[in-house]
Subunit: 309 residues, 2 copies
């Protein structure tokens, strides 16, 4: 393998990797100019998200680099899913370190592009720089949705049911157990699967939606706060990932499932569980069996602090 | 000043700062949901760029934080100018460090938003994380241009004149002299002015365009390579910033002027200088008085190495 030695050579390499992707919808010009050019379709809104992925915070160098690439894109795609949108393209900024092997970067892009292909997301551009001690990736994803139909977090109504997809706490359990003992839970942590099909199916049905990136109680707090309502957990069981604790399910974070609300008369979509009800009350307040719960989860800013306050 | 202590509080603060901006063109939803929502206009192409700004590589902590915020956005806007586009919105990902003062972050956003307001760019979202030892910002800027009219770097024809705007080498001179002795050159380095009006005026006239981020010879090499042509410097003088050396003008980088080509019969737009002619020959080859010049400038990847090879 020839080792790229300059930015120009890296751009060539990434262009070559990206060119294998058959998906080109809407992209007039991809990697290699000052800007990528995208031609929107009539009648569509575009949605945009950006997510930082930092070594020793969101991943470790011991992870398979292809998994890190997957993870960088999956986090952005999960936000696209939460809006009910279909992904169109992504941009990737990558700050490497002096000791990042070219093979690491190559495999990072291979993992990212594999997920990009599978989800019809074009890698349209980005930036490469040599940084300091921690590899830092920033992913931007653009999705499209029929005009006015994007799911938001501020539309829940009093009486709406609260639902989650999948099983919660798996990512936290995987992180706790590590790659050797974590099994399926470890995969949940490392290579989360964005719930794009579910998100799209919720358009016109869900009144509000958010992805579970930072922990159920914290993300529910955000949805409730945005909707100006309180939220009450039903007495029934949470859908807990096998082996995970209730605390991991409630505040572990990084499950990248969808949390959404449906009108009172709605039925659970397949693969989802009703976990509570939106109520009039103090905006953002969460109760369980009548008792207030302090929203807790991963706060990206005050890392280590686990509270929304 | 109340000090934000959590990501939620920072998002509130940034929302409050961004809300002062009067510009909302096309933004349906800004900071605060999983994604920002943008409604494109009919008949427009959108252009996207992303640029990393890393402490101790692209700026130092001793710089005024408002200037760093300006600089982060200006680099992205310069790419938008090079496409002949009008900026629409930006997204900003910011990884801070344990020792970043809240006031630093506030002033960073104030500087960024001041330039955003002045250029009609909406701050539509982003990400905040606590990183490690170096503040790292990644700016994404979206611009709009009438369908099919974006300037690219691959359209130059043989015989086209090569032009640059402004004076070159000022940023490199400023960086060399520092804040106390650098005067106007220091300001060129710290708070570059993106050439948005010139870029827009070149639509339908310029055959190719690129912004001067990495040094004249390196960026000219890129334009020539993309256009499949060689480039020849005219014998005439380069427009050198007062006090800068010819080497600084040729390869200093970060001047954020525009480098573009016009058909043979065209006249220089005001404030620009003709510096050469596109020629048939080895793609990307640059000559001056008949001698080949090795393209040199700042390579973001192999920092310190100054060659395009």
């Amino acid at each position: 393998m020839e080792v790229p030695r300059s930015e120009l050579q890296w751009i060539d390499r990434i262009q070559a990797l990206a060119a294998r992707s058959p998906v080109r919808r809407g992209m007039v010009l991809g990697v290699g100019d000052d800007c990528a050019i995208f031609r929107p379709r009539a009648g569509e809104d575009l949605v945009f998200t950006t997510d930082l992925l930092i070594e020793d915070i969101h991943f470790r160098r011991t992870y398979a680099p292809a998994d890190v690439g997957h993870r960088a894109l999956a986090r952005g795609l999960s936000d696209i899913a939460a809006m009910g949108a279909a992904p169109r393209f992504c941009l990737l900024s990558l700050a490497t370190t002096a000791n990042t092997a070219p093979r690491w970067i190559d495999n990072f892009f291979r993992g990212l592009l594999r997920l990009a292909d599978r989800t019809s997301t074009v890698l349209a551009g980005g930036d490469l720089a040599r940084g300091h001690t921690a590899i830092t990736a920033d992913i931007v994803v653009c999705g499209a949705v029929a005009r006015g139909s994007a799911l938001r977090r501020d539309g829940a109504g009093a009486g709406d049911g609260i639902y989650v997809s999948g099983l919660l706490g798996g990512a936290a359990l995987g992180l706790e157990k590590g790659p050797r003992k974590g099994g399926r839970a470890w995969r949940r942590h490392v290579v989360p699967e964005p719930r794009l099909a579910l998100g799209r199916s919720l358009r016109g049905r869900a009144t509000a939606c958010i992805d579970l990136s930072d922990g159920l109680t914290l993300d529910l707090h955000r949805l409730a706060l945005a909707s100006g309502l309180a939220a009450e957990f039903d007495a029934g069981a949470l859908p807990v990932f096998p082996g995970a604790s209730e605390a991991q399910a409630l505040s572990g974070g990084e499950d990248y499932e969808l949390l959404f609300t449906l009108p009172p008369e709605a039925r659970s979509p397949r693969g989802t569980t009703r976990i509570g009800t939106m109520r009039r009350g103090i905006a953002g307040r969460i109760t369980r069996n009548g008792r207030a719960i302090t929203p807790a989860g991963y706060d990206h800013f005050s890392a280590g602090t686990k509270s929304a306050g």
